[in-house]
């Protein structure tokens, strides 16, 4: 095959994109509204409408663009205004009223409204910038680089920001050289297991048979993880570019994106991105004028957690129930329709163009020796700065939680961090100085997984946490392996008994034994890792289990059957009826002296009364076990 230089075709494309973009944006104020799913949940669409209305009202020529997620989800809805002569400024907690003021005072006037400013995107003399935040010191954005800063539904914006340039570079090289480069970079799959990406591609390339398939695994089913979603919604072209390079290297002829149907916005933005890439001849046949062709089909998964497992995913793509199968043969040798197939996670593919653009040595220079590059986490739960962060591998958990995430809200105490979803584990405070990489997490009993990181404070019960994950894995078990099908059920029953205060100490030993056996006796990672939440909580929080069993007490005051709400009579204010009004089931009523009393028969323990009680009285408490409530 005579290599055809893709560079001239790409240069033409880039010039075209640049010209289009200049016509749209040059010299104008640009308003970017973070309208990924997280932003929309916080009301970004109302903000978007307010900006559009206001811009129209004043007849302004400033584009209002929907962008993706900047990662600072705690401050959603987030808006960036780029006004000529000013550094781009990010505003947090925006609502339609603030939007109106920003147009009138900053865009029409020259007042940047510092009271609403989250931070400027570049250092300047007037406003604080993200570089002043402690997290900027520890963050290193590689795959999140463009997120929230480019228009995900405009390929021109992507190309102008470096998109597809790595593809042009890669297509000028023989595939073997790309594989060598990726292998040298040490890129490990970000789907959870951390398998070397280059090795997978090589196996597919070496395997007999055509056609060969490349699948982008965007079936992010882990509860608590949303990095793939945010990436797909914020920078879909980055993923498509990664697929094209991976497909070229592995010798694939057809590509699939397997994306969850629960992510409708990601699906929509991918559809737009695919259509545009097709229009620009970046996918399809003779990409950038070369001999390389790759069709990409979008396939919507239909809500089965096990389909994140590559063999189950392949079965699902073929129209079957998503049952995993025994490996080997590995999909790289015998996958979709019996053909060699590479399955890579969204994040893995997102790294590929960056590595091709900057070189393997650059990538190796970031992160830990055996886990080069960065780790992307979705921070959620009891943490001040929820959102998406990208830090070099090897950063400690403490740094991520306290410096990047700004610690635990409301002065509460840190209790545990849950990493890697149902396949991962809960790590205690003593593990906070653990450097985060594939191997160290595994040693501690957790896994990197898909990047979900849920922080728990003193109010979260670890037994309940384990029960929750077992309920999830029990429901999602495909039922193929007996150990997984029945074992998860049995373990769930034991854990449920604990949270109901009906456990026995002997159950702990049974639970531990079962956990080991389910892990050993299951075919796929769902079953093999299902006991992890139990094993880690037993390892680090055994006393909590024991308290549930022996005292019928939930120390975190979370397990509903082991707590009772109680109104302290000497603190309750007679003239106040806040809790009575707040109670959703009419369980609270005043007694003869107008002191409020909770009817334990009616109380559903929803906790609505607790924040309703004015802080100056602070009369409502949770007690565990329920027998702590004084009798009349």
């Amino acid at each position: 095959m005579n290599p055809i230089n893709p560079a001239p075709a790409f240069r033409e494309l880039r010039d075209k994109a640049g010209a289009k973009l200049r016509r749209l944006k040059d010299g104008k104020t640009v308003i970017m509204v973070g309208a990924a799913t997280c932003g929309r949940a916080a009301g970004a669409l109302d903000v978007l409408r307010a900006f559009r209305d206001e811009v129209k009202k004043h007849n302004l020529d400033c584009p209002v663009i929907e962008v993706g997620c900047l990662g600072h989800c705690y401050a959603e809805p987030l808006v960036i205004i780029g006004k000529p002569g000013w550094p781009p400024v990010a505003y947090g907690y925006v609502n339609p009223v603030i939007a109106e003021r920003l147009v009138n005072e900053f865009i029409l006037g020259d007042n940047p409204c510092p009271e609403f400013v989250l931070a400027a995107l570049a250092p300047n003399d007037l406003l604080p910038s993200f570089q002043d935040f402690p997290r900027a010191r520890y963050e290193r954005k590689i795959i999140l680089q463009n997120c929230g800063l480019i228009d995900p539904s405009d390929i021109n914006d992507s190309i102008a920001n470096g998109g597809y340039s790595a593809l042009a570079k890669a297509l000028a090289l023989p595939p073997q050289k790309i594989i060598a480069e990726i292998q040298k970079s040490g890129l490990r799959g970000r789907g959870g297991a951390g398998f070397p990406a280059g090795q997978k591609w090589q196996a597919c390339r070496d395997a007999q048979g055509t056609p060969k398939y490349l699948i982008c695994n965007a079936d992010e089913g882990d509860p608590g993880a949303f990095v793939d979603r945010a990436l797909l919604e914020s920078d879909p072209h980055g993923i498509i570019e990664g697929m094209l390079i991976a497909g070229y290297a592995a010798g694939a002829d057809r590509g699939y994106i397997y994306v969850r149907a629960e992510y409708p916005l990601a699906v929509e933005r991918l559809q737009i991105a695919l259509r545009q890439a097709e229009d620009y001849h970046l996918i399809g046949s003779h990409i950038l004028g070369t001999d390389y062709s790759l069709e990409i089909t979008l396939f919507q998964g239909s809500g089965a957690f096990v389909c994140g497992e590559e063999t189950a995913l392949i079965a699902s793509l073929a129209g079957q129930p998503g049952l995993p199968r025994y490996r080997p043969p590995y999909p790289a040798v015998k996958g979709l329709f019996g053909q060699p197939t590479v399955v890579n996670n969204v994040k893995t593919l997102a790294y590929v163009p960056r590595i091709m653009a900057n070189g393997a040595d650059w990538f190796r220079g970031i992160g830990a020796a055996d886990s080069p590059g960065t780790a992307v986490f979705a921070l959620a739960g009891k943490i001040v700065n929820t959102g998406m962060v990208e830090v070099p591998m090897g950063t400690t958990l403490r740094r991520i939680i306290y410096d990047v995430g700004s610690g635990i809200p409301k002065g509460k105490k840190f209790k545990a961090v849950q990493i890697g979803g149902p396949s991962g584990g809960c790590l205690p405070e003593s593990a906070l100085d653990l450097p985060v990489d594939f191997d160290s997490l595994q040693n501690a009993g957790a896994i990197m997984g898909s990047g979900g990181m849920v922080v728990c404070d003193e109010d979260d019960c670890m037994v309940e946490m384990a029960r929750y994950f077992l309920e999830f894995t029990r429901r999602e078990s495909c039922g193929k392996c007996t150990f997984c099908r029945l074992g998860t059920r049995q373990m769930l029953e034991i854990l449920t008994d604990f949270t109901l205060g009906q456990g026995k100490l002997a159950d702990l030993a049974i639970l531990e034994k079962l956990a080991g056996e389910v892990g050993a006796g299951s075919l796929c990672a769902l079953g093999r890792t299902a006991p992890n939440p139990i094993l880690t909580t037993l390892r680090y929080f055994r006393n909590e289990y024991e308290e549930h069993i022996t005292l019928g007490r939930c120390p975190a005051l979370m397990c509903r059957h082991l707590i009772a709400y109680y109104i302290l009579p000497d603190k309750c204010e007679r003239s106040c009826d806040a809790c009575v009004g707040a109670c959703t089931v009419e369980a609270i009523s005043p007694d003869k002296k107008r002191i409020k009393v909770i009817d334990p028969e009616k109380c559903v323990k929803c906790g609505t009364c607790l924040p309703a009680c004015p802080p100056q009285y602070n009369a409502i408490v949770k007690l565990s076990p329920p027998s702590e409530v004084p009798c009349k």
């Binding site: 799913t37 997280c38 929309r40 949940a41 916080a42 009301g43 989800c73 705690y74 959603e76 992010e220 089913g221 509860p223 608590g224 993880a225 949303f226 979603r229 945010a230 149907a261 629960e262 992510y263 409708p264 396939f299 919507q300 239909s302 809500g303 089965a304 957690f305 699902s316 793509l317 073929a318 129209g319 079957q320 129930p321 998503g322 979705a378 921070l379 959620a380 739960g381 009891k382 929820t386 959102g387 849950q418 979803g421 979900g452 849920v454 728990c456 979260d460 929750y468 994950f469 999830f472 495909c478 009004g581 707040a582 959703t584 089931v585 009419e586 559903v604 323990k605 929803c606 906790g607």
Partner: protein, 163 residues
């Protein structure tokens, strides 16, 4: 039951696909997208078109969480039960929805106004607990917010202070 309508809609969708097994899930998604659920007659028509046993279609339908076998309500309520939502009280919100609508997950109210379901995780963990109402994720849904959302659909919470 509107039998002919179901079949006509199914046939129309089938005509857009080639009769191959890998198209089964996209076909099911399209039919459910159109009808709101997968009636028995539609599943039989799909099986006939793909030349597979109806039980194979049923097996796929019941394996995946996305598919439903009963008609949806006018408004859909999906309570997220992801980790962050659970830790922040998603199950309490689910309780409140069940109480107010008088139905369990995967059911539809008798007046066909609302259907209730749970979802594993919608990826809005930073806004927990989340309920997706008619496709729109609602942030921080506690029992009071449940009443608020229902009120916006004209459904009053049960009257208080009646003795």
């Amino acid at each position: 039951m509107p039998g002919p309508d179901i079949l006509a809609a199914t046939e129309q969708i089938l005509s857009a696909f080639t009769p191959e097994r890998p198209n089964l899930i996209p076909i099911l998604q399209a039919v459910q997208g159109k009808l709101g659920y997968l009636p028995r007659s539609a599943m039989q028509a799909i099986a006939g078109y793909l030349r597979i046993a109806p039980v194979d279609v049923y097996g796929v339908v019941t394996f995946y969480n996305q598919f439903r076998l009963n008609p949806p309500g006018k408004h859909s309520v999906k309570v997220c039960l992801g980790t962050a939502c659970h830790m922040k009280g998603g199950y309490i919100a689910l309780d409140a929805w069940q109480r107010r609508l008088g139905i369990s997950p995967r059911q539809t109210t008798p007046d066909r106004e609302f259907d209730l379901d749970t979802v594993a995780c919608v990826g809005c963990c930073t806004m927990a607990p989340v309920t997706v109402v008619d496709g729109k994720p609602e942030a921080r849904v506690d029992p009071t917010r449940v009443d608020g959302i229902l009120l916006s659909f004209g459904r009053e919470p049960p009257a208080k202070d009646q003795k």
